[in-house]
């Protein structure tokens, strides 16, 4: 399932300057897949490039989920070392490199918050906000932010319950059962809301078809 859209038709070496509407923060999806393949063969320079192209999303996602920046840093580090170690297991036929990477980061972040005292997480003051993105100067973050605007518009097309369920699950690491409780939904329906929301997001953004 290769990602569709304008980016994937760019030549693999289409760099930052040559891509007017980058969807992968300056690197096309094909670039990232290639970097991941090279990393699997032990190419440290390729991995450094891969890191630079994806670290803001990986770290930002970890911060959203675990909240504590130093723990998020640990989660991101563990994830990147795993990405390096298991890069040969990436299969471009099954999805994009960035979704493979972020899936791994997210799983690690959720494992971290679930194994931590639940109460600690719930009580922590939430310092991080999406505003930070606007002030972020890196190319990756700036372009991610452009893309994020489109995503936010797509999110607006979800029902409120779909959106809330998705955010609680993805960004806060709650299980669908916990989400149901928090949103006062009958048991077993939160998972449906999450799935419906993701399907609509996917179809609106035209990815993964």
């Amino acid at each position: 399932m290769n990602p569709t859209g304008p980016a994937s038709s760019e030549p693999p070496h289409g760099g930052l300057a040559s891509v007017p509407e980058p969807t992968q923060a300056g690197s096309t999806a094909a670039d990232l897949a290639q970097l991941l393949r090279l990393s699997g063969r032990g190419d440290e320079a390729a991995f450094a490039q891969l890191y630079d192209a994806t670290c803001a999303r990986a770290y930002g996602l970890a911060v959203r989920v675990v909240r504590d920046p130093s723990q998020a840093e640990e989660v991101a580090q563990e994830a990147f070392l795993e990405i390096w170690r298991t890069a040969s297991r990436f299969d471009a036929a099954k999805g994009s490199a960035v979704s493979w990477i972020l899936t791994l980061v997210h799983r690690k972040a959720v494992d971290r918050v679930r194994s931590a005292e639940a109460s600690t997480r719930r009580d922590t003051t939430y310092h991080q906000s999406s505003q930070t993105v606007e002030h972020d100067s890196t190319a990756e973050a700036a372009q991610a932010s452009m893309e994020a605007r489109r995503v936010r518009q797509a999110m607006d097309s979800l029902t409120q319950v779909q959106r809330e369920a998705l955010e609680l699950a993805y960004f806060k690491g709650y299980t669908h059962t916990e989400v149901a409780k928090m949103l006062d939904l009958p048991v077993g329906t939160a998972k449906t809301r999450i799935r419906d929301g993701l399907i609509r997001l996917r179809d609106t953004m035209g990815v993964g078809q």
Binding site: Q77, S99, S145, A148
Partner: protein, 265 residues
């Protein structure tokens, strides 16, 4: 197609299933093309959500990641469905792994009761890793494999199987076993010190359930211990608190027990 399992796809993609549901869904996945397609496509949608969260990490992260990879050997590509490599609990999205491999690395390390938790709380002061660099077992190795210690050879083995857990206080313990090397290694990080006058004793549990002494750890902190005895036949690795001289049989309930399952051998 099982409708109720199928409905878990979205929650699976955002890691919103509990462990049991996740295991059930991952058993279902290899046999259901619909779910495989849906999981893949929803993962692409999920990845977009992270754009909104993008945040430049501290420069130190880049330094430690790029230093870290120098000591880690990338896995060889899979050569078949039944490849025996079952390393770690995070080998990329689980959907890209055969289910039998995933099942093999489920971790079942159970801290027993509040006592261990109390001991670990005391560990907060024992931060032995410089600069907050996270655990990776290859730290400090010579880069030349001919100079690797027996423990390091286990850690570097291509067939190393790893069972690990992280505790609430940031401490962690890991058992790594390699059939090729014929040994297992216990790694600890930021482990609490044993109670005064006591030590940690390590045990290999054989197929009959008998615990055999496999080594001692007299202090907390970070350790890399090559386990003595027949690691290949062991079904579990336990840690108990014992007198400093050690015991022939455990005198108390394990504070931690790793379930190893079958070795690759």
């Amino acid at each position: 197609m099982n409708e109720s399992l199928h409905a878990l796809s979205g929650a699976y993609v955002v890691d919103a299933l509990d462990d049991e549901e996740r295991a059930t869904f991952e058993q279902h996945l290899p046999g259901c093309l619909d779910c495989q397609r849906e999981v893949s496509s929803l993962r692409e949608a999920t990845a977009l959500l992270a754009d909104d969260a993008a945040l430049t990490p501290p420069p130190a992260l880049r330094v430690s990641v790029l230093a870290g990879i120098k000591t880690i050997r990338p896995l060889a590509p899979e050569t078949g469905r039944h490849a025996s490599i079952t390393n770690l609990d995070a080998d990329g999205p689980a959907a890209q792994q055969p289910a039998d491999e995933r099942a093999a690395k489920v971790l079942t390390f159970r801290p027993r009761g509040a006592r261990f938790a109390r001991m670990l709380v005391a560990a907060a002061a024992v931060v032995a890793v410089a600069g907050g660099v996270v655990y990776h077992p290859w730290t400090g190795d010579s880069s030349q494999s001919s100079h690797l210690s027996a423990a390091d050879q286990v850690l570097a083995a291509s067939d190393a199987q790893q069972h690990s857990i992280e505790f609430n206080d940031g401490s962690s313990a890991t058992v790594v076993r390699s059939a090729k090397e014929g040994h297992a290694v216990l790694l600890t990080q930021k482990m609490a010190a044993p109670p005064s006058g006591k030590a940690f004793e390590l045990w290999l549990r054989d197929a009959q359930g008998v615990m055999k002494p496999a080594g001692m750890m007299t202090t907390g902190g970070d350790h890399k211990v090559l386990l003595k005895g027949n690691s290949l036949k062991a079904t579990g690795v336990g840690i108990t608190v014992e007198p400093k001289a050690g015991s022939d049989t455990p005198s108390s309930e394990p504070i931690a027990m790793f379930e190893l399952g079958k070795s690759n051998a």
